[in-house]
């Protein structure tokens, strides 16, 4: 390898847990000098935690990282930068009101007698812009006026002018069109030719196959394998390694348990919003659990929020039990007995500093009060106690505040609040995110139980095993579009992942 270090960036036995949730378990692999190395995995596979550790934004519980033989001692962003690691985040971090030149050299590297030497700054910036083929962008231009692709490129240039040893790119093509993405690929190839080591994170298999030298695959916080990208590597290899769980551990729903009820309780027709969601349709039957799966940026969250009226739509209608909703608002949904479980309990869905009873009673205030609005507190207490018992939520008292509870119990409190109004349709969004196995099991059982009683359930989840266990059928989203639907009898992780990562259902190498 002509003097090049094969263990340039070495990741040794890294473990990191957030509370009870293990984000990374004993991850070890190495990145070679001067290669483009892709890290691939589902949402929650541990990619972003690993990158955060490399960038010094998180400290691992155990394990070490070394760069060019030198071990990282303190995990801070400034230490990582000093060692020569730079990253381009998925969300752009640009100064829109400053010039392109100032964005590329934010620390004012060009000075003359204590003042900024603009002449030199612009000259140098122009040189860099030309080098990366941004001929239409002028150094003194306002950053805000540059196209998204241009801004992305300028961020990469900002990293490069710092002469880093390693750069990390997180989903750099997510905001780009094909042509722009193509140009980015060319530039990355050139940087590689100049000897730069690049860590690349993306869900787009086509891109990965094109530019990576090697691909490391992670799953459930663990290292799976590192594959050499030679002629024999296929997309199927990648998919199989992303999903290849030992399915004996996770039960898949028995096709015989699939409910065959043709009564439609909830229907989405042509729901769409420019640049956010392509026209989408779905039908939910009584007692059915419909799973919706998509990787990051596929539009699943937008769909879930839009169909509950939490985000504005451009067009499309929602029908609840055959009746069209005139105005799509959460209030109207609740009135029609549709409830929504939020995906992030810390942002919304729970009143973290109010007693558990108040949390459960919030959605049923109308139900337990008389016509004048007076609340029947006995009834309220009865219902909240009932749900606490049903979910076996471990509480010191009814006045305990959710903030003091574990993630699993918080999730159960939120679930109780959602189900206390006895809805006919529930939209649950990541119902078991960040909670322990026991609580997860209870929530799964409960969802299956309410479906059996006739409640229609739509589950949005980024965890395939969860969806395969719960759903009667699964719809898959990619690029803001519903690209396919798989029936329970045909559930395999490979099929579902293929839809999500490639879009096509064919078994061959089709793209």
């Amino acid at each position: 390898m002509s003097g090049k270090n094969t263990e340039y960036l070495k990741i040794n036995n890294i473990t990191k847990a957030y509370g009870v949730v293990k984000a990374l378990t004993d991850v070890s692999f190495s990145i070679r000098q001067g290669e483009i190395h892709t890290i691939l995995g589902e949402n929650g596979a541990g990619k972003s935690t690993l990158v955060k550790i490399i960038m010094g934004e998180e400290t691992p519980d155990s394990g070490t990282i070394s760069l060019d033989g030198e071990q990282v001692k303190t995990f801070t962003p400034s230490a990582a930068q000093a060692m020569g690691v730079r990253m381009v985040h998925q969300e752009l971090a640009v100064f829109e009101n400053m010039t392109v030149a100032e964005n590329i050299y934010p620390s004012h590297d060009f000075k003359k007698g204590g003042r900024i030497d603009y002449k030199e700054l612009y000259k140098e910036t122009a040189k860099q812009l030309e080098r990366f083929g941004l001929k239409t962008v002028r150094p003194e231009e306002q950053m805000g006026g540059v196209t998204l692709a241009g801004q992305q490129m300028i961020e990469i240039i900002r990293c490069i002018v710092a002469n880093p040893k390693v750069i990390i790119l997180d989903e750099p093509t997510s905001g780009l069109n094909d042509e722009e993405a193509d140009r980015l690929m060319e530039i990355l190839e050139r940087l590689k030719a100049e000897g730069m080591t690049i860590i690349y994170i993306s869900h787009r298999l086509k891109e990965i196959m094109r530019i990576s030298d090697r691909v490391t695959i992670m799953r459930d916080g663990q290292y799976v394998t590192t594959l050499q990208n030679d002629d024999s590597l296929t997309e199927s290899d990648l998919i199989n390694n992303m999903v290849g769980r030992d399915l004996t551990l996770h039960s898949i729903k028995n096709p015989q348990d699939v409910i065959n009820n043709k009564e439609v309780v909830f229907e989405v027709k042509n729901l769409a919003k420019a640049h956010a969601l392509n026209p989408s349709d779905l039908q939910l039957h009584k007692g059915e659990i419909l799973g919706i799966f998509g990787l990051e940026g596929s539009g699943v969250t937008k769909l879930s929020r839009m169909m509950y009226g939490l985000e504005r739509k451009d067009s499309g209608d929602i029908y609840v039990k055959g009746e069209k909703l005139n105005k799509l608002t959460p209030k109207n949904m609740v009135d029609k007995h549709v409830m929504y479980l939020n995906n992030n309990r810390k942002v919304a869905g729970l009143l973290l500093d109010m007693p558990v009873t108040d949390n459960v009673s919030l959605p049923i205030l109308g139900k337990v009060s008389n016509k004048l609005g007076f609340i029947n507190s006995k009834e309220l207490k009865r219902i909240s106690t009932e749900y606490i018992k049903k979910f076996a939520i471990a509480l010191p008292s009814l006045s305990t505040k959710p903030r003091k509870l574990s993630g699993g119990n918080q999730q159960k409190v939120m679930m109780s609040a959602c189900l206390a109004p006895e809805p006919e349709v529930v939209i649950v969004n990541e119902p078991t995110r960040g909670i322990d196995v026991g609580a997860k099991e209870e929530i799964h059982k409960f969802l299956l139980e309410i479906a059996k009683k006739g409640v229609g359930v739509i589950v949005f989840s980024s965890e395939l095993p969860e969806l395969m266990r719960l759903s009667d059928r699964i719809k898959i989203m990619r690029d803001n579009t519903i690209v396919g639907e798989v029936e329970c009898s045909e559930f395999t992780e490979q099929t579902l992942m293929r839809y999500a990562a490639v879009g096509a259902s064919g078994k061959g190498a089709g793209v």
Binding site: K331, L351, K389, S397, L398
Partner: protein
């Protein structure tokens, strides 16, 4: 097994509802009363107490909407100028248009309500900072007040339109009795009625309440209107009491309101607040002022002291919030 255990524990703990922290304002006010009656012979005199409580009762109407809003995590800085606005409109309606007091007050409240709705709409629709928007309203309304009141050049309201304020039931002003009744009713509603209780939920986490079907924005808009209307009502009463519209009526009232609400246990972060305790907060401030005057403390020094109290109250608020979190 765990279910049974939690069930039993719940019942035991539920009985302990007494919350010492919540009674601070009662202790403070009591201590101040005891101290002043022991050290100043003029303090515990019926007329003195009645005059303190009357001042509280007029301001109380302005703190009703203010308390609703602070519970929902919003601030209404326009209460003071809306208070004065009540007097301005009384002057216009009663002097210029010869209206009698009743219709004049109602009309003034309607106009104020519309202004409150507009600021509420702007704040909720465009997610603007309520403090900034209401400071804008404060300045605009204040400008109008000054313009109109200087034109009226201190003309007194007709005797028949203002004397009703001085009416008494037994020995006590009807305004004081009205305040007591309203405070108790609102306190009950805040605890027992879903329409009022939902304000606490909105104050704790607005996104959550929207998710579960509460029209949080509409509730806020209504409360901005209520705040403006009732401030105007209080200001109209005060103007009748001082006989003529005056630009000093209601000046700095918003600061008094924040101090009173916060020492009454409300949190500027939303989610906490009580009508009776806001009223006690006002009582505390007016008693303190009365006592300081009795001790011949310079009025500018009084202002310094009140400023320090506001800051202390805010610090206490933050510490309580942090502790409970």
């Amino acid at each position: 097994m765990s279910t049974a255990a939690t069930g039993r524990k719940l019942n035991e703990q539920e009985k302990k509802k007494f919350d010492f922290g919540g009674w601070t304002i009662v202790y403070l006010t009591l201590a101040l009363f005891v101290f002043l009656s022991l050290t100043r012979s003029t303090f515990l005199n019926f007329n003195n107490i009645h005059s303190i409580v009357f001042d509280v009762s007029v301001d109380f109407f302005a703190i009703i909407g203010f308390t609703f809003l602070i519970i929902m995590g919003e601030l209404d800085m326009s209460v003071g100028s809306m208070f004065c606005f009540g007097g301005t409109l009384m002057g216009i309606f009663c002097n210029t248009y010869k209206m009698s007091a009743g219709p004049a007050i109602v009309l003034a409240m309607v106009i104020a309500g519309i202004i409150g709705l507009i600021s509420g709409y702007l704040i909720t629709k465009f997610r603007l900072n309520s403090m900034m928007v209401t400071i804008g309203v404060m300045l605009a309304v204040k400008g109008y007040n000054w313009m109109m009141i200087t034109r009226m050049t201190g003309r007194q309201l007709p005797r028949e339109s203002r004397s009703f304020v001085m009416n008494k039931i037994g020995n006590i002003s009807w305004v004081i009795l009205l305040m007591l009744v309203v405070a108790v009713i609102l306190e009950i509603l805040l605890n027992k009625s879903r329409y009022f209780k939902q304000m606490y939920y909105v104050g704790h986490n607005m996104e959550t309440t929207i998710l579960y079907g509460i029209k949080a924005n509409r509730v806020k808009m209504i409360c901005f209107a209520v705040s403006a209307m009732l401030s105007t009502f209080g200001g109209a009463l005060m103007t009748c009491r001082v006989k003529a519209p005056n630009v000093t009526v209601g000046s700095n009232l918003e600061v008094t309101m924040i101090t009173a609400a916060v020492i009454g246990g409300a949190s500027i972060f939303g989610g906490r607040g009580s009508m009776v305790k806001s009223m006690l907060g006002l009582l505390f401030i007016y008693t303190l002022r009365n006592g300081m005057t009795a001790y011949r403390i310079d009025s500018y020094v009084q202002q310094i002291i009140l400023g320090v109290i506001l800051i202390l109250a805010i610090i206490a608020d933050i510490r309580i919030t942090a502790k409970r979190a």
